[in-house]
Each structure stands twice: as structure tokens, then as C-alpha cells.
């Protein structure tokens, strides 16, 4: 039975029915959560409008950071792969006096350069004048006709300096160089034209009338694309066979960020008496500049995101405050039904946290979609920190918490008699 049981009992007094208070004195956390959820779900349109600010703020934040990270990743990739660490030293073509060869690079240039701090690898490279000599596969498998291929010479350090990767075989080393061994390494395209794709059978090529053993085939090089089309022999061999007098150029691979410094030091190290007769190709400082621009942009967008979040938080606070005023009779009713002040406060706080969390969730989704979308259009690899993706909804919830504090306090301070009066 719902009501006080039975007819009044004159002897029992007030000690029977209403004294069986076995009830806990407070609602469970889950009840408060349910009430808050019901409160949020009761006004779906308002919920959407309330979350809008948070959605925009979090989306701006996630999108900015995501795109920033993506762009940074892209720049770093280009920064490493592109010639940002490549320095090339050559004699000054125009600097010669009266037809004399102005300056020749010394053979020990790599040793001199190697002593500089920040140099990772260094090697020489030269194009050989081979006159009318053609290059021909000794087996005739390439069709028998000689090919007019570029023949080049390099030091053993060249491979590391140009980040050469082998398809098969090996590079020549100092030993080959000193002994002037008749060996060559083939560039990728040169090997294709000569019909050579493996070296385990010790294939050979004729350059002019001289046979050379092919010991390796390149797969890729960085910065010196002409190596792909060339037949490359050790410097020592080139000196003997083609009277190579001096290297054409010194290829230097520097540590990241050291290129500018090395570019200044290299001519002095090579030609202390006359450094101005050398020209140096160094990467422009563009990488650094762009990075600076990016971080400035990032700061700007982060600021925008923060402002949007602030506005979003104010939006939540505002709407929650309005909703408190609008639901004043509900508050009074709950108080009449036994809710303590803190139950009212917790309910409104949880409602505002839920709104913030939903806004954060939606905003994160929008931000991720934005990042992936832009990356897709620009053909980038989208990069997004997991912590950002999972933390942002929590950020939204936190904003809801902060934004809801004042309205919740306000709601809890409403006197039940004020709330129940009228209407």
C-alpha cells in the first residue's frame, strides 16, 4: 500500500508505520547522473546550440594542431630528403685568368672537409672526358652496340655523401682507388641500358677498348641525379686511364642544421689562401624560414582556438544560467522532494560537463575530419597526436565543468520558497 497503512491505531501512536525509515539518506551517484542526462536530453535543440561554441573551439584547436603537426611532418620530410644537408664545393668557372685553369680542387679536399665539425660524409665527383669511347656490355646482351654513356669518377666517400643506395653488389672502396682497379659501379639507368641487372656473375663492360668489372648497381642517389645515368669508377682508376687531374666537385653531406656553417667553412678549409675562387652551393635558409612562419601561424590559430573555447565556455555558462532561471520551479520541486543544495549543484554541474563533453567529442571529430580532409587534398600524410584526439573531449568536459560552476552554485542557492511561488 502506498499510503500510511490501515485505519489509525490509537494505541500504536506515531511509532508504527512512519518509523520504519530504512532508507538511505542520499541519492546514488547514478541517480544524479540519470537526472542530469534527462535534463540535457529534454531539450535537444538547445543542447546543439549550447555545444556549438565548444564544438567550434575544440575543432579549431584539434584542426590547428593536427594541421600544424601534419605540415611540420611534411616540412621535416622535405627538409631531410631535400638538399637541406647538401653542400657542394666547385672551382669558380669564371674566375680563371687568361684561359688558365683558375683553381683546381686538391685531391685531399675530402680529408680537409672531414675535419670540420658537422660534416657527416664527404666525397669527390668528376665527369671524365672519354672522347669517342663508347660503353658496351662485353657479353653483347645489350644488342652489341656501344652506348654513349657518361663516365664519372668518385672517391670512396662519395657514396655516403650522396646517400647512395645499392640495388645489388657493392661500392668501390679506398683499396680499389689506390690500386686503380678496373672496376665500375653502374647508375640505375646506365645499368638498364647496358642490360645488366646482377653482379654475382662478375659482368664486365668495355669503355672504349678497356674492360671493367661491374661490382655494383645503384638503386638511388640524392642530389646527384646524373649519377643514375653514369658509369662510375674510382678516382685512382680515372687518373690512370683518363689522366684526371683534379676532382670537379666535392659533395658534402652535413648534419641537420649545419649546412650553412659548413658552406662558410668549406672553401677556407680547401683553399685557405684563396677561398673566394671556390663556389659553394648550399641550401637556402628557406626551411628555417618556413618553419618559423608555420609556428607563427600555429600560434595564431591556437590563439583563435583558445578564444573560440573561451567563447564556447561562456556560451555554456550563459545557457546553463538561463536554463537555471527557466527551471527555477523544477529546482524548487526537487528541493521540496528532499534534494539538498549540493544535489542541485551536482545536477547542473554534471549537465554542463555532459554538454561540454559532447561539444568536445563533436569538435574533435570535426577537427580530425578537417585535418584528414586537408591532408587528402594536399596529398600529405595526416599526423595527429593520439593524446590530442583522446584528450580533446576531456578538454570539452573540463570547459563544461568550469563554465557550469557559477550557474550550478547559483542554482543551489535558490531558495525553495522562491522557486515554488507563483505560476
Amino acid at each position: 500500500m502506498v499510503t500510511q497503512a490501515g485505519p489509525p491505531d490509537p494505541t500504536g501512536g506515531p511509532s508504527t508505520s512512519r518509523r520504519r525509515r530504512r532508507l538511505r539518506s542520499r541519492p546514488a551517484v547514478r541517480d544524479l547522473l540519470d537526472e542530469a542526462l534527462a535534463g540535457v536530453a529534454a531539450r535537444p535543440t538547445r543542447l546543439i546550440l549550447t555545444t556549438l561554441g565548444t564544438v567550434l573551439g575544440v575543432a579549431a584547436l584539434v584542426g590547428t594542431v593536427g594541421l600544424g603537426q601534419t605540415a611540420a611532418g611534411q616540412i621535416t620530410q622535405r627538409f631531410d630528403l631535400a638538399a637541406a644537408t647538401r653542400v657542394v664545393v666547385q672551382p669558380d668557372d669564371k674566375g680563371g685568368q687568361e684561359g688558365e685553369a683558375a683553381t683546381q680542387l686538391p685531391w685531399d679536399a675530402p680529408e680537409r672537409i672531414k675535419r670540420l665539425n658537422g660534416v657527416d660524409a664527404v666525397g669527390t665527383v668528376s665527369k671524365l672526358e672519354i672522347g669517342d669511347d663508347l660503353v658496351e656490355n662485353v657479353t653483347g646482351l645489350d644488342g652489341g652496340a656501344g652506348k654513349a654513356l657518361q663516365v664519372m669518377a668518385g672517391s670512396s666517400g662519395l657514396w655516403d655523401a650522396v646517400r647512395a643506395v645499392l640495388k645489388t653488389g657493392r661500392f668501390f672502396d679506398d683499396g680499389h682507388d689506390q690500386r686503380a682497379d678496373k672496376v665500375v659501379v653502374l647508375g640505375k639507368h646506365a645499368a638498364e641500358r647496358l642490360g645488366i641487372n646482377r653482379v654475382d656473375s662478375q659482368p664486365a663492360v668495355f669503355i672504349g677498348d678497356e674492360p671493367y668489372t661491374v661490382i655494383g648497381i645503384l638503386d638511388s642517389v640524392t642530389g646527384r641525379a646524373d649519377l643514375n645515368d653514369a658509369v662510375i669508377m674510382p678516382n685512382g682508376t680515372a687518373k690512370e686511364a683518363y689522366n684526371l687531374e683534379a676532382p670537379d666537385a666535392v659533395e658534402i653531406r652535413t648534419a641537420v642544421g649545419a649546412a650553412q656553417l659548413i658552406a662558410e667553412q668549406a672553401p677556407i678549409a680547401i683553399e685557405p689562401n684563396n677561398p673566394s675562387t671556390l663556389t659553394v652551393d648550399a641550401p637556402p635558409k628557406q626551411g628555417a624560414v618556413r618553419k618559423g612562419v608555420e609556428s607563427d601561424l600555429n600560434a595564431l590559430f591556437l590563439l583563435l582556438g583558445a578564444v573560440a573555447l573561451l567563447v564556447g565556455g561562456l556560451g555554456i555558462a550563459n545557457v546553463t544560467l538561463l536554463s537555471v532561471l527557466e527551471r527555477i520551479s523544477e529546482i524548487g520541486l526537487r528541493r521540496a522532494l528532499g534534494a539538498a543544495r549540493r544535489h542541485i549543484a551536482v545536477q547542473f554541474l554534471v549537465e554542463s560537463v555532459i554538454v561540454g563533453f559532447l561539444g568536445g567529442l563533436l569538435g574533435t571529430a570535426v577537427g580530425v575530419i578537417l585535418t584528414v580532409g586537408v591532408s587528402w587534398v594536399r596529398d600529405w600524410t595526416p599526423i595527429l597526436d593520439n593524446r590530442l584526439a583522446f584528450g580533446s573531449p576531456l578538454l570539452g568536459a573540463f570547459i563544461g565543468l568550469v563554465a557550469g560552476t557559477y550557474p550550478a552554485w547559483k542554482a543551489s542557492a535558490i531558495q525553495p520558497i522562491t522557486a515554488l511561488r507563483g505560476t
Partner: protein, 229 residues
């Protein structure tokens, strides 16, 4: 009829209760009221507007604190209680019926009734079952899943009564319960009160309507913050 008047520990015991609202202008809303409501009693408090009857209702319902005097509810001295304990006592011992019903529009009738058991800690499993029984009791078992906005005024007030009863209060406090109803619906509500009274419920109805007031077992009149018999 009940003989509860003679019971040793009354539900309500007010001695010299005063409620003073600091100005401006200063108002002595309740000026020394002695009131005892025994268990099972059906009392009406009648008075013109401005007589202080709303303030008395708020004091009786623990919604407001007296400035002075003694108020014991179920033998518990409420004057010394802190706000949190007062909320618990209010939720457990008092069922409110308001003139404007105060139902939550976005919740079903059943949820509205079950709500009054949330803050007194009735386990979730029991709430819905008890709310159903209470709604059957007021003849609304066919409206349980309806939204309150779709009900008539009389039906809404019956929902409110079911909500007031479901937590098994010691005292049912009604504030102009028929104020927003036509005479037919008002009569139906008064009949529910009669039935509750015959089942032993303690009722206090505050009204300005003599017709409503006369249905009670005992009437007191409040004028200018004091009771007159």
C-alpha cells in the same frame, strides 16, 4: 472518524513560531503561532491573501526557517537541524501538493512520481513499482507513460498527489490544491483527500476557499500572522 487528536506525539508541534522578514518594509508574517496536528488528522488552514498562510505552509514544509519559536516534526526538533538534515527530513516526512502541480514536462507521468523517491534513497528497483501502485491508487494507471502536458488539470493534480504519497510521508501538505481546477475536478481531488484521511493519512490543506476548507475535519483560520479558532 479518527481519534488521533489524543495521540501523545503529534506529527506537527509548533510553539510560538514567528517568521519575520527584514525590510524594507519589515514584515511580521507569522506572529507567534501555536499549532498541533495529530497523526491522522485532516486540518485546513484558511485565510485571505496576505494573511501569512503561504509563509506558514513553507514553515510547516521545512522550506523556510522560523525566526523564533519551536517546531517539532514527528517529534524531531527542526530548529536545530542543519540544512542537509532538513532536506532529508523534508524528503522523507512531507509530501507536497502545489496549486500549479509542478510536474516536469519532459518526463513521463511515471517518472514524475518516481522522482520523489530519488532523493530519499529508495532503491531504483523499487521506485517504478511503487510509482505504479501510487498512480493506480489515484486512478491514473492508464496514463503512466504519458507526458504531463497531455493531461487535464485534474489528472495532473492527481499525478502530483501520487508523487506526494509514494514516498510514504508523515504529512501531506497541500497549497491551494484546487486553485487551478474547475469545480468537477476540484471535487474529485477533495474526494481523494477524504479517502486518504479515512486511511489514516495526516493532511494539512491551505486554502482561501471556504468550500475546500469545510471538507476538513478541523479548520483553523489565519489572520495577520496569527491563528484563530
Amino acid at each position: 472518524m479518527s481519534t488521533a487528536v489524543a495521540l501523545p506525539a503529534p506529527v506537527v508541534e509548533m510553539i510560538g513560531v514567528r517568521r519575520f522578514f527584514p525590510g524594507p518594509p519589515e514584515v511580521q508574517a507569522i506572529n507567534g503561532i501555536d499549532l498541533t496536528i495529530g497523526q491522522g488528522e485532516y486540518l485546513s488552514i484558511v485565510g485571505p491573501s496576505g494573511s501569512g498562510k503561504s509563509t506558514l505552509l513553507h514553515l510547516l514544509g521545512l522550506l523556510d526557517n522560523p525566526t523564533g519559536g519551536v517546531y517539532r516534526l514527528d517529534g524531531v526538533d527542526t530548529m536545530s537541524l542543519r540544512e542537509r538534515r532538513r532536506a532529508v527530513l523534508r524528503g522523507e516526512r512531507i509530501g507536497f501538493v502545489f496549486q500549479s502541480f509542478h510536474l516536469l514536462d519532459h518526463r513521463t507521468v511515471l517518472e514524475n512520481v518516481a522522482l520523489s523517491m530519488v532523493y530519499v534513497g529508495v532503491p531504483r528497483r523499487q521506485r517504478m513499482a511503487r510509482a505504479r501502485v501510487a498512480l493506480e491508487r489515484v486512478g491514473l494507471s492508464h496514463r503512466m507513460e504519458f507526458a504531463p502536458t497531455t493531461l487535464s488539470g485534474g489528472e495532473r493534480q492527481r499525478v502530483a498527489i501520487a508523487r506526494a504519497l509514494v514516498a510514504e510521508p508523515s504529512l501531506l501538505l497541500a497549497d491551494e490544491p484546487t486553485g487551478n481546477l474547475d469545480s468537477a475536478n476540484a471535487e474529485a481531488i477533495l474526494q481523494v483527500f477524504d479517502e486518504l484521511h479515512s486511511e489514516g493519512m495526516t493532511l494539512a490543506v491551505i486554502t482561501h476557499d471556504d468550500h475546500v476548507s469545510r471538507r476538513a475535519q478541523r479548520q483553523v483560520r489565519i489572520v495577520d500572522g496569527t491563528l484563530q479558532w
